[in-house]
């Protein structure tokens, strides 16, 4: 919606050119350091393993991880990645939709929110993994139980985060809307929601991490498929390369999902002129 500046860009002053160059150099340095550390870490790891400083049977080593990755078909790695991805995304989408829905209801009715308050507080501090066995008994030991687990872990946090954002909306803006006779629905759609685009995305970012935690915990318990299962299995049969490979894939997955939310946030907030 933002319109391009009508006038052509004025010539950049010398000071500004200097400032811009300094900034670019700094950004470049930061990136170099970030990548450098990663390369150094893996190089050190490989070297230590080859020189026998660390026990590569327990801690594995990059070359073995690469080998494991190359033998994808052998241990059905891709299938397991797919299972974990599917469960995480399902848990994430359900968590966001349900969480947002509940937050809207609680914002809408102060009565319902007062009634729900003590339950939310208790549920929020309860370690949800404790519910694992109950969930498995209820819905069976399968993908469903794992998605439930992810939901149990991420839902309450999402609700609380979004509700806090909704409630922190500038009351003066709401008053302004009311002076025009805005209905509660209009206040929500035209003031509260657009004012909370960033809160929403921040809770998405938290949610995606928590869904992953829930899915891995669920896969530990259910132990049928997925990266969580591979990690447990690899530990039991002393195939620690498998464990390390899974952990590495998990970190890449987490980073990619977080990044996609961040990109989406940029697109949407540009749409809202933020």
């Amino acid at each position: 919606m933002r319109h391009p500046e009508p006038a052509a860009w004025p010539a950049v002053s010398r000071q500004r050119a200097l400032y811009l160059r300094r900034r670019r150099r700094r950004a470049c340095l930061i990136h170099t350091c970030q990548i450098g550390f990663l390369v150094l870490f893996f190089a050190q790891w490989e070297l230590s393993a080859r020189l026998g400083w660390i026990d590569s049977f327990i801690l594995s080593q990059p070359s073995r991880i690469l080998a494991t990755l190359r033998n994808l078909s052998q241990n059905h790695l891709l299938t397991h990645v797919g299972v974990t991805l599917y469960e995480t995304l399902t848990g994430f989408v359900l968590g966001v939709l349900l969480g947002a829905g509940i937050a809207v209801v609680l914002w809408w009715s102060s009565f319902v929110s007062r009634v729900a308050e003590p339950y939310l507080v208790v549920l929020n501090s309860l370690p949800k993994i404790a519910l694992g066995p109950v969930i498995i008994l209820l819905v069976g030991a399968g993908a469903k139980a794992i998605i439930f687990m992810a939901l149990a872990i991420s839902l309450i946090v999402t609700v609380l985060e979004m509700l806090a954002g909704f409630r922190a909306t500038d009351p003066e803006s709401i008053r302004m809307a009311r002076t025009f006779g805005a209905t509660k629905r209009q206040i929500f759609l035209k003031i509260v929601l657009p004012a909370n685009i960033n809160t929403l995305f921040n809770s998405l970012k938290i949610n995606i991490g928590l869904s992953l935690v829930g899915v891995i915990a669920g896969e530990f318990l259910v132990s049928k498929a997925g990266l969580g299962y591979l990690i447990v299995y690899g530990g039991q049969v002393f195939q620690l390369d498998l464990v390390m490979t899974s952990v590495l894939i998990l970190s890449v997955m987490a980073a990619l999902m977080y990044e996609s939310v961040a990109v989406l946030q940029k697109l949407v907030s540009r749409r809202f002129g933020g």
Binding site: R178, G181, P194
Partner: protein
């Protein structure tokens, strides 16, 4: 001139857990069409509450308010209410901010949009219509907020210290601008202010309220002759006398 607003024996008491607050009681006055009424009173005496009652945002605990002969029971499309802060929405362009009231009232017709654009043109904001609020100065933002209210075509405008957020210099020019806008659009206006000179320079009459619970202390008619303008009034020979009078009325209250 015909009467547009009638406030009849209106009282309001706030109820809260830690007791009740009697904001004002038995307030009665009338306002004629096209008139500009300033309202002054000690801090916390219930001026904002009075405007909210007239705007239909708060049902009064006693009495009634009539606009064009009809009792106010909720927010009326005939009334525009402008708060102290401009409350422009940061994620909307100036044009979309100005159309906000029309959008809420589901009155975004081509004629109304045209009217809003005409107001933007007349009051020097048209070139900024695609900018965002943070790109405007305080005075421009305040004007945009006023146009947002005027775009809905109110017969009666309520201003609650609408200019107190501005620095003195800007405030003098903005009040002069706004006064002209209001007189040209023939909008009846009630303006609450803390600033006695402002109340005199803009008002046809000044409603002086007592300390809480507020009552009408005096309804003072000002006479500066025809063709008055807020800035010019300030140098009028009678200005000082009016100022002293209102000052005295307000300060007797604070010592008693």
């Amino acid at each position: 001139m015909e009467e547009i607003l009638r406030v009849e024996d209106v009282s309001h008491t706030y109820q809260a857990e830690n007791g009740e607050v009697n904001a004002f009681e038995h307030i009665s006055f009338t306002v004629r069409r096209g008139e500009f009424l300033s309202i002054v009173g000690p801090s916390g005496c219930g001026k904002s509450t009075l405007l909210s009652v007239i705007a239909g945002l708060i049902p009064p605990s006693g009495g009634r308010v009539l606009v064009d002969g009809a009792v106010i029971t909720g927010v009326s499309p005939h009334i525009g209410y402008m708060l102290q802060r401009d409350n422009l929405l940061e994620w909307r362009t100036i044009l979309n901010n100005v159309l906000f009231g029309l959008e809420i009232r589901r009155a975004k017709t081509p004629q109304n949009i045209e009217r809003a654009e005409r107001l933007l043109k007349t009051y020097g904001l048209y070139d900024f219509r695609n900018k965002y609020p943070r790109q405007l100065s305080g005075g421009m933002r305040q004007r945009a907020a006023l146009i947002r209210t005027l775009a809905t075509g109110p017969d009666l405008l309520l201003l609650d210290e609408a200019f107190s957020a501005l620095d003195y210099q800007t405030r003098l020019t903005v009040t002069d601008d706004v006064y002209r806008i209001l007189k040209r659009e023939r909008v009846t206006t009630l303006m609450v202010t803390h600033d006695i000179p402002e109340s005199i320079s803009m008002g046809d009459r000044v409603l002086i309220l007592s300390a809480r619970p507020a009552r009408v202390r005096e309804l003072l008619s000002l006479d500066f002759g025809p063709g008055r303008a807020p800035l010019a009034c300030r140098t009028h020979p009678r200005f000082g006398a009016y100022f002293d009078h209102i000052w005295k009325e307000l300060s007797t209250d604070e010592t008693s």
